[in-house]
C-alpha cells in the first residue's frame, strides 16, 4: 500500500529493483565470492489506477477536514478520551492535544477492553509515534498510515466509514460523531487501498541465504534529509547509522506530478526488474564515465543493511513526503507471482531464511515477513562509506541531485557500489559472514588498541607525539609533511601484519585504489582523528602569524563588495542564492568537522556541484558551456561569502594530509581550484602586477610539490620506497638545485636566470619553483 501524497513512492520500489538488478548482474558477471546467485522479486501489486491514488489523497484530505472530530481541543483529557473510547471497536482512536501548544500529543486507541496510549512526538518537522521508527511529515499521514498498518500499535486504526464517502452526512464535528460510527466496517475503498501495493525484494546469496528486503524498511530509515531539504543537509557520515547503511536516491522535488505519473507507470508491476532499459544507464556509471543525470530519481531507496549489531538505533528517522511503500502481511494477501525475473529461488517468501533467531529490530512493523528479522544497524563509527576509486571523487558523481537545494544524494556509481556493497553485506551477513571491509576496519581499530602490537605502539606514538608537537616558526608545511609521512609509515606498519595482508588479499572484488582508500581511511580513523583538532590549531596559528589569514579577511570585504563580475564572472552566469549559500556554508562546516582529508574532499566536491547548479541556473537560456572561466570566479565569490579562515585551514589540511594518489582525479582538481581561489583572495591587494605569483605562493607551491616527490606515499603492501634518481631537463635545461635531504630544509634560490621575455612576470623568486616544477614531472 502506498501512503503517497504526490509521488515518489513507486519510484522507490522500481529504483531499488533497478539497482538490485544491476548489482546482481554485475556481481554475477564478475563471479566474485559471495556473489548473489539468484534473485527473485516478489512482485508488487501496484495501484494501477490513479483514481485509487487520488482517493487516498482524498482520504487524507478528509482526515484533515475532520480533525476536530478525532482530535478534540484541550478541554478533553485522557480520562475523557478513555471513557469515550471504552467499548468502541478496536482500533477506534482519538488524538489529544497539548494544552499549551495545541499540538497533537497523545494517540489513544481502543483495543480489546481497554485503551492504549501512544505519545506523538514531534521532532524537527516530523512526527512519529513513541516507540516507532516511522516518521511522517504530519499527524494526518501518520494516522492514515496507521489505519493501514499498525506499526507499534496493537491495532490498525479504524476510520469511521462515513469518512470515505464524498459528503459527510453530519456537519456536527466531534469525538462522539467520530466514535459513534466507527463500529461499522470500513467500506470497500479502504480494503482496496490495503491491497494495492505489495512489495518485497528477495534475493539469495550464493551460500543459500534468502534475503528479504522490504522497501518500506529501506524507505523509512534516514529520511531526515527529505524534511530538511531547504536548508540543511546531512552528510552521509553524520547520519544515523541506519541511514548511512542505506542506499539513497535523490528526491526530485520538482515535477512532482510528472513523478507521480511516472511512478504509476512504473508501478504497473509486470516489468521485469532487471529490465533491459536499466543496464546501459548503470553500466555507464559503473564504468566511471561521467554519470548521466538521473532525471528519474524520484524516490528514495534504502537498502537494508546487515551491517548491524543488535543495538537499536536511538535517533529517530524522519518521514518522507514522498510516500511509503510497503508490503502487507502475507497472510492477508497471497503473493502475486506474475513476473519473477530470475527463477532460481521461489518467488514467495520462504521461511528458509535463516535469520529468525536474530533479535527483532526495534523497527518492527506489521508488514515484515513473519520471523524474518534483519539485525539492526551498527553504531556509526563502525560504518564508513564504501571506499571509492580515485576518480569517484568526482563532482559529476558525488551527487546526482538535479536540484542543488535538495538533500543528500549519491552518485550513480557510488550508489551502485553501495547497493552492491550493502546487498552483498546483507547476503553475507545472513549467511554468517561479515562484510570484509567492515571486518577490516574493525580489525584495524582493534589492532590499534591491542597492547604490545607494533601497530598499536605506532598509533600511540603518533597520537601522543603529534599532540605534544607544534610546528616551528615557518615550519608548518614541514610539520604537516611529517604528519603525512608518519601516516604513511603507520600504513606500512599496518600492512606488515600478516592478518591485515590476509584480509586485504581476500578482497578480490576491490580494486587496488579502493583498497588503498580503505586502508587510508582506517588509518585516519585511528590516528588522525585524535590529533585533527590539534593540527587545525597548528595551521591556524601558523597562518595567523604569517599574515595569510589576516590578508584573507582583510581582502574579503572589498572583494565581496565588487560582486562576481569583479571576479571575472561573466554575465548571465548565476551565483548561489542565499538559501544555497546557507547550505554551502553548512557543507563547509561539515567539511571542517571531518577529520579525514578524503572525507573533506568529498564534501568539497558536493559544494562544487552546488555551485555548478547555481551557475547553470543563470545560463539555461543561453546554453553556455561552463568551464573554469566561469567556475573559478563563482567559487571565489562563494568563498568570499564563507568563513575564509576555516577554509584556508581545511585546504592546507587536505593538501598536506591527503594521500597524494588522491590528487590525481577530480578531487585533486577541485582542491587545486579551492587553493587557487583562496590564494587569489589572499593575494588580491599585494599582487601588484597581475602576472606575478607571489613569493609566498611560489614557496607554498614548491613545498607542496616537494612533499609530493620527497614524501611520496608508498603503496600499500610495499615495504620500502623505491628510490630513483631524477634527471634534469633536456638540452641544457638541467635543473640546478641545492641538494635536499628527505624533509630537509631547502633554501629557495633567488630569482635569477630569468628568461628575457618574461619581463612582466614576477619580481621575486618565482624561478625557484619553476625549477622544482620540472622535477615533479619526473614522478
Amino acid at each position: 500500500m502506498v501512503v503517497d501524497e504526490g509521488g515518489g513512492g513507486g519510484g522507490v520500489v522500481e529504483e531499488l529493483v533497478e539497482e538490485v538488478g544491476l548489482v546482481l548482474r554485475k556481481r554475477g558477471r564478475r563471479a566474485v565470492h559471495g556473489a548473489v546467485s539468484g534473485t527473485t522479486a516478489i512482485p508488487w501489486r501496484s495501484s494501477r489506477s490513479s483514481s485509487r491514488r487520488s482517493s487516498r489523497r482524498r482520504l487524507l484530505q478528509r482526515l484533515k477536514d475532520w480533525e476536530e472530530a478525532w482530535s478534540p481541543p484541550p478541554p478533553w483529557d485522557r480520562e475523557e478520551a478513555q471513557s469515550a473510547l471504552r467499548g468502541t471497536q478496536p482500533g477506534s482512536f482519538l488524538v489529544l492535544r497539548d494544552h499549551v501548544t495545541c499540538r497533537p500529543r497523545l494517540l489513544c486507541v481502543a483495543t480489546d477492553g481497554h485503551v492504549t496510549e501512544r505519545e506523538i512526538l514531534f521532532s524537527d518537522r516530523v512526527c512519529q509515534l513513541s516507540g516507532s521508527r516511522l516518521s511522517f511529515p504530519d499527524v494526518f499521514q501518520l494516522l492514515l498510515f496507521c489505519s493501514f498498518s499498525r506499526d507499534v500499535l496493537p491495532e490498525v486504526l479504524r476510520l469511521p466509514p462515513w469518512i470515505f464517502s464524498e459528503s459527510p452526512e453530519s456537519s456536527e464535528l466531534g469525538p462522539k460523531m467520530w466514535l459513534s460510527a466507527s463500529s461499522e466496517n470500513p467500506p470497500e475503498e479502504k480494503s482496496e487501498a490495503l491491497g494495492s501495493v505489495l512489495c518485497c525484494l528477495q534475493m539469495t546469496s550464493s551460500n543459500g541465504a534468502l534475503c528479504v528486503v522490504n522497501p518500506l524498511y529501506l524507505h523509512e530509515h534516514g529520511d531526515e534529509w527529505l524534511m530538511q531539504r531547504p536548508l540543511a543537509q546531512r552528510p552521509l557520515a553524520q547520519m544515523p547509522p541506519a541511514q548511512r547503511s542505506l542506499v539513497q536516491r535523490p528526491l526530485a522535488q520538482s515535477s512532482r506530478t510528472s513523478d507521480l505519473r511516472r511512478d504509476q507507470r512504473r508501478l504497473s508491476g509486470t516489468r521485469p526488474w532487471s529490465g533491459a532499459g536499466l543496464i546501459p544507464k548503470r553500466a555507464v556509471s559503473l564504468d566511471q564515465e561521467p554519470a548521466p543525470d538521473l532525471g528519474d530519481s524520484s524516490g528514495v531507496v534504502r537498502a537494508r543493511s546487515a551491517d548491524s549489531s543488535k543495538t537499536p538505533v536511538s535517533s529517530g528517522p524522519a518521514s518522507s513526503t514522498s510516500g511509503v511503500v510497503l508490503r502487507r502481511p502475507s497472510r492477508d494477501s497471497p503473493i502475486a507471482t506474475s513476473s519473477p525475473i530470475t527463477t532460481s529461488s521461489p518467488s514467495a517468501p520462504s521461511p528458509l531464511a535463516p535469520v529468525s533467531h536474530m533479535s527483532p529490530s526495534p523497527h518492527r512493523v506489521s508488514w515484515i515477513q513473519d520471523g524474518v528479522w534483519l539485525p539492526p544497524p551498527s553504531p556509526p563509527s563502525l560504518l564508513h562509506l564504501p571506499s571509492m576509486e580515485l576518480d569517484s571523487l568526482s563532482v559529476s558523481s558525488v551527487e546526482e541531485d538535479p536540484d542543488p537545494l535538495s538533500g543528500l544524494a549519491s552518485s550513480s556509481h557510488r550508489l551502485a557500489d553501495k547497493v552492491r556493497h550493502r546487498f552483498s553485506a546483507v547476503g553475507q551477513a545472513l549467511g554468517g559472514l561479515v562484510c570484509p571491509k567492515r571486518r577490516f576496519r574493525y580489525r584495524v581499530q582493534e589492532m590499534s588498541d591491542r597492547r604490545g602490537s607494533v601497530f598499536a605502539d605506532g598509533v600511540r606514538t603518533f597520537v601522543d607525539g603529534f599532540l605534544q608537537k607544534s610546528p616551528e616558526r615557518d615550519g608548518l608545511t614541514e610539520f604537516l609533511q611529517e604528519v603525512r609521512a608518519s601516516l604513511t609509515a603507520l600504513r606500512e606498519t599496518l600492512l606488515e601484519h600478516v592478518e591485515i595482508q590476509g584480509l586485504l588479499d581476500a578482497m578480490t572484488d576491490m580494486t587496488d585504489a579502493e583498497i588503498d582508500i580503505l586502508v587510508e581511511r582506517s588509518i585516519h580513523k585511528v590516528a588522525l582523528k585524535p590529533v585533527a583538532s590539534h593540527l587545525y590549531g597548528c595551521i591556524q596559528t601558523s597562518r595567523s602569524s604569517d599574515g595569510i589569514l589576516d590578508r584573507l579577511q582583510r581582502n574579503q570585504r572589498p572583494l565581496q563588495a565588487g560582486g562576481v563580475g569583479q571576479l571575472g564572472g561573466s554575465e548571465g552566469v548565476g551565483v548561489p542564492d542565499q538559501v544555497t549559500l546557507e547550505r554551502i556554508r553548512e557543507r563547509w562546516d561539515t567539511m571542517h568537522e571531518a577529520y579525514s582529508p578524503n572525507k573533506k574532499v568529498e564534501v568539497l566536491l558536493k559544494v562544487c556541484k552546488n555551485i555548478y547548479h547555481c551557475m547553470s541556473a543563470g545560463t539555461e537560456s543561453t546554453g553556455a558551456v561552463l568551464g573554469a572561466d566561469d567556475f573559478l570566479p563563482c567559487l571565489s565569490w562563494v568563498l568570499l561569502q564563507s568563513d575564509v579562515v576555516a577554509l584556508q585551514v581545511d585546504t592546507e589540511y587536505m593538501m598536506e594530509l591527503l594521500d597524494p594518489t588522491q590528487l590525481q582525479g577530480e578531487g585533486g582538481y577541485y582542491l587545486t581550484s579551492l587553493y587557487a581561489a583562496l590564494f587569489f583572495i589572499s593575494s588580491f591587494r599585494t599582487r601588484r602586477a597581475v602576472r606575478q605569483l607571489s613569493v609566498e605562493a611560489q614557496q607554498s607551491l614548491s613545498q607542496w610539490h616537494r612533499r609530493r616527490t620527497l614524501h611520496c606515499d608508498h603503496p600499500p603492501r610495499r615495504k620500502l620506497p623505491h628510490t630513483i634518481h631524477s634527471r634534469g631537463g633536456e638540452g641544457g635545461e638541467e635543473v640546478p638545485q641545492r641538494g635536499r635531504g628527505r624533509g630537509g630544509e631547502e633554501v629557495p634560490q633567488p630569482g635569477r636566470g630569468r628568461g628575457g621575455e618574461g619581463s612582466e612576470e614576477g619580481e621575486g623568486g618565482p624561478r625557484d619553483s619553476e625549477l622544482r616544477l620540472k622535477k615533479w614531472k619526473d614522478v
Binding site: G623, F680, H722
Partner: protein, 218 residues
C-alpha cells in the same frame, strides 16, 4: 603520474592542462572531445572544468585528465597551480582574435620556462568555422608553433573538426615522452609500475648552479 603498470597491460595516466584566454573555446573543445557535445543553443548547461577520457592507443590504455583553467587575466598568476605536473598543455586561441594568440605565446614562454621540454605543447587555433573573420594567419601560427617545439592544430568545436586528431596526437606524443623517460630511467617496466604509487625522488644534481638561460628562446 606518467605511467603505471596495471594487471596485464600498461596504463598511462596523463594530465593535460587547457590554457588560453577566456572565450576562445577551451571548454567547448574539451567538452566536444570528451562527450561529443557542443553547446550552441542548447538548453542544457554543462560543466566541463575537469574531464576525463579513456583511450586505447596501440594496445596501451591511456587515462586522460583534462584540467581547464580560468583564462581571465586576473587569474593568470594561478597558472602554475594548475599546470604543475602536467604531461601536456593545450594552448587555445581564437583565430579571429589576435590578442588570444598573443596570450598563447605568453603561455608557451612560461611553460617552457617552468616545465622545460618535458611537457608536450599543442597550440590550437579554434573556431575555424569562422575562417572568414580570421585574424591570425595560418602560416604565422604554424611557424611559431614549430619554432617553440609545439604542434599546431586547427579546430572547430562547433563543427567538431580537428579535435580527435589533436587529442590523439597529443596522447601519442605524451606516450613517447613517457616511454623515453622510462628508457632513460632504465628498467622501464618495473619503474613504470612503481610510478603510479609514488616514488621517492633524490636529486642527481646537488650543486647549486645558476639557472641562467633556462629556455629564454621563447
Amino acid at each position: 603520474m606518467a605511467a603505471s603498470g596495471a594487471g596485464g597491460g600498461k596504463t598511462y595516466s596523463f594530465k593535460v592542462v587547457l590554457l588560453g584566454e577566456g572565450c576562445v573555446g577551451k571548454t567547448s573543445l574539451v567538452l566536444r572531445y570528451c562527450e561529443n557535445k557542443f553547446n550552441d543553443k542548447h538548453i542544457t548547461t554543462l560543466q566541463a572544468s575537469f574531464l576525463t577520457k579513456k583511450l586505447n592507443i596501440t594496445g596501451k590504455r591511456v587515462n586522460l585528465a583534462i584540467w581547464d583553467t580560468a583564462g581571465q587575466e586576473r587569474f593568470h598568476a594561478l597558472g602554475p597551480i594548475y599546470y604543475r605536473d602536467s604531461n601536456g598543455a593545450i594552448l587555445v586561441y581564437d583565430i579571429t582574435d589576435e590578442d588570444s594568440f598573443q596570450k598563447v605565446k605568453n603561455w608557451v614562454k612560461e611553460l617552457r620556462k617552468m616545465l622545460g621540454n618535458e611537457i608536450c605543447l599543442c597550440i590550437v587555433g579554434n573556431k575555424i568555422d569562422l575562417d572568414k573573420d580570421r585574424h591570425v594567419s595560418v602560416e604565422e601560427a604554424e611557424s611559431y608553433a614549430e619554432s617553440v617545439g609545439a604542434k599546431h592544430y586547427h579546430t572547430s568545436a562547433k563543427l567538431n573538426k580537428g579535435i580527435e586528431e589533436l587529442f590523439l596526437d597529443l596522447c601519442k606524443r605524451m606516450m613517447e615522452t613517457a616511454q623515453a623517460e622510462e628508457r632513460l630511467k632504465g628498467n622501464g617496466a618495473s619503474q613504470s609500475a612503481s610510478n603510479r604509487r609514488g616514488v621517492q625522488i633524490v636529486d642527481d644534481e646537488p650543486q647549486a648552479t645558476p639557472a641562467g638561460g633556462c629556455c629564454s628562446s621563447g
